[in-house]
């Protein structure tokens, strides 16, 4: 064997070893003996407020989301806004929300569904894809969290996670102030902590706690539940022809008479 061939063979072996190490680390992180739960796959929200109408396999679905424990300075305005939205809806003139403009929920709203979501576990990242609006969030594993003023505000924020026993604990900061769940105001200091675990082999719970020293009196905690969808592949969702719009009064309207003009 020539020297060049030896070098080539060594390179192949080294490559294979590197590949094996990577694969071992992967299996240890995802499904090995000391293993964390395998939550990879498709999931559909169940319980109160879910599109599936509470058709869960688990009768122990979590209670509905409680009202936000807003500080007095914010509570009155929030209640008035919610009341105005209910009255407008009752009149058949609903106030436009983010979805009307095809804007996604961001965090934590995307965890409420409404469509199925897919979780992908890899060694360094847990990725969650929500079918509606093709929303994607990335949870960086075993990495230090950034300070609120070190991140640029986004819809999904900066999420870091770690497994604590059978629970994936995720911390998120850096959510845009315009991205509001249930219209609840928050500051740039908002922090979301999630405890994600299998309540049953095919039932996933995400306990979400929101803290915000500026707007909240105390932490706001609620839980979303999901059932496993073993044979479901997420569908595409592109806001291709949105005929709804928000008019000058802030009300939702529908454009009639055919598809949007060719672009």
């Amino acid at each position: 064997m020539t020297a060049a061939a030896w070098v080539a063979a060594a390179a192949v072996l080294a490559g294979a070893a590197a590949f094996a190490t990577g694969a071992d680390a992967q299996s240890a992180a995802v499904g090995g003996a000391s293993a964390v739960p395998d939550i990879t796959g498709s999931w559909e929200r169940v319980g109160p407020g879910a599109l599936a109408g509470g058709q869960g396999t688990d009768t122990r679905t979590p209670p509905p989301v409680p009202p936000p424990p807003l500080k007095a300075a914010y509570l009155g305005e929030w209640r008035a806004r919610q009341q105005a939205a209910r009255e407008a809806t009752a009149k058949g003139q609903p106030i436009g929300i983010n979805w009307v403009n095809c804007l996604p929920d961001g965090m934590p709203g995307m965890m409420q569904g409404p469509f199925p979501m897919e979780i992908l576990q890899t060694r360094d990242q847990v990725t969650i894809i929500q079918e509606s609006f093709t929303q994607v969030r990335r949870i960086l594993m075993n990495r230090p969290q950034k300070k609120s003023d070190e991140v640029d505000p986004t819809f999904y924020g900066h999420s870091v996670g770690r497994w604590t026993g059978d629970t994936l604990v995720v911390e998120t900061v850096g959510i845009k102030e315009e991205v509001r769940y249930q219209n609840v105001p928050h500051s740039s200091a908002m922090r979301i902590t999630e405890r994600i675990r299998l309540a049953q082999p095919s039932v996933l719970w995400d306990e979400i706690t929101i803290e915000d020293p500026e707007t909240l009196e105390k932490p706001w905690t609620f839980t979303f539940a999901y059932r496993r969808m073993p044979n479901y592949t997420l569908l595409e969702y592109i806001c291709e022809d949105n005929r709804e719009y928000i008019d000058e009064k802030g009300l939702q309207r529908m454009r009639l008479g055919g598809p949007a003009p060719a672009r």
Binding site: P48, G49, A50, L51, G53, G54, A88, T89, A90, K91, G92, Q93, P94, G96, I97, W99, V100, C102, Q112, G113, P114, F115, E131, S132, L235, Y237, I238, C239, E240, D241, N242, R243, E244, Q252, R253, M254, L256, G257, G258, P259
Partner: protein, 144 residues
């Protein structure tokens, strides 16, 4: 016992209604713009069955009382919901004569929300509208 069961059933129905009712907000937009108190029937020719998000559309021409042809725009749900309910992009075809049961727009504009459609071959397809039971079906009334 019978009475007890009746009460239990009413409670269950009530709970299901409340739960499903709560889902009305979980959609691309509010369905409050559509009339929940009556339905109209649109029989005519499909000019386009549009398989898009955030909603699918059924564009139809129908014959008005004065003999003219008028256009009506029917909104469907997200095509993802339609897919999960068994619909495909080929479920309705352009040129087909269909009969659509629609919750009309409250604004009076010529458009509405599809509740169900009867195809040319007589098959009936139900649209997977959230909280569909909150829409009152009234006796068939042809749009003219």
């Amino acid at each position: 016992m019978q009475r007890g069961r009746g009460l239990l059933r009413r409670i269950i129905v009530g709970v299901v209604f409340l739960t499903v009712g709560a889902t009305a907000v979980i959609a691309h937009h509010s369905f409050a713009v559509f009339d929940h108190s009556q339905t109209v029937t649109v029989t005519g020719t499909v000019t386009r069955f549009q398989w898009t998000n955030p909603h699918g559309f059924l564009e139809m021409d129908y014959r008005a009382a004065d003999g003219s042809t008028k256009h009506y725009t029917i909104e469907l749900t997200s095509i993802n919901m339609l897919s999960r309910a068994g619909w495909t992009s080929r479920s309705v075809k352009a040129g087909e004569t269909v009969k659509a049961m629609v919750a009309p727009l409250l604004s009076g504009e010529p458009g509405g929300l599809l509740l169900e459609v009867t195809l040319g071959d007589g098959r009936k397809l139900v649209s997977p509208v959230p909280a569909a039971n909150t829409f009152t079906r009234t006796p068939e009334k042809e749009l003219r």
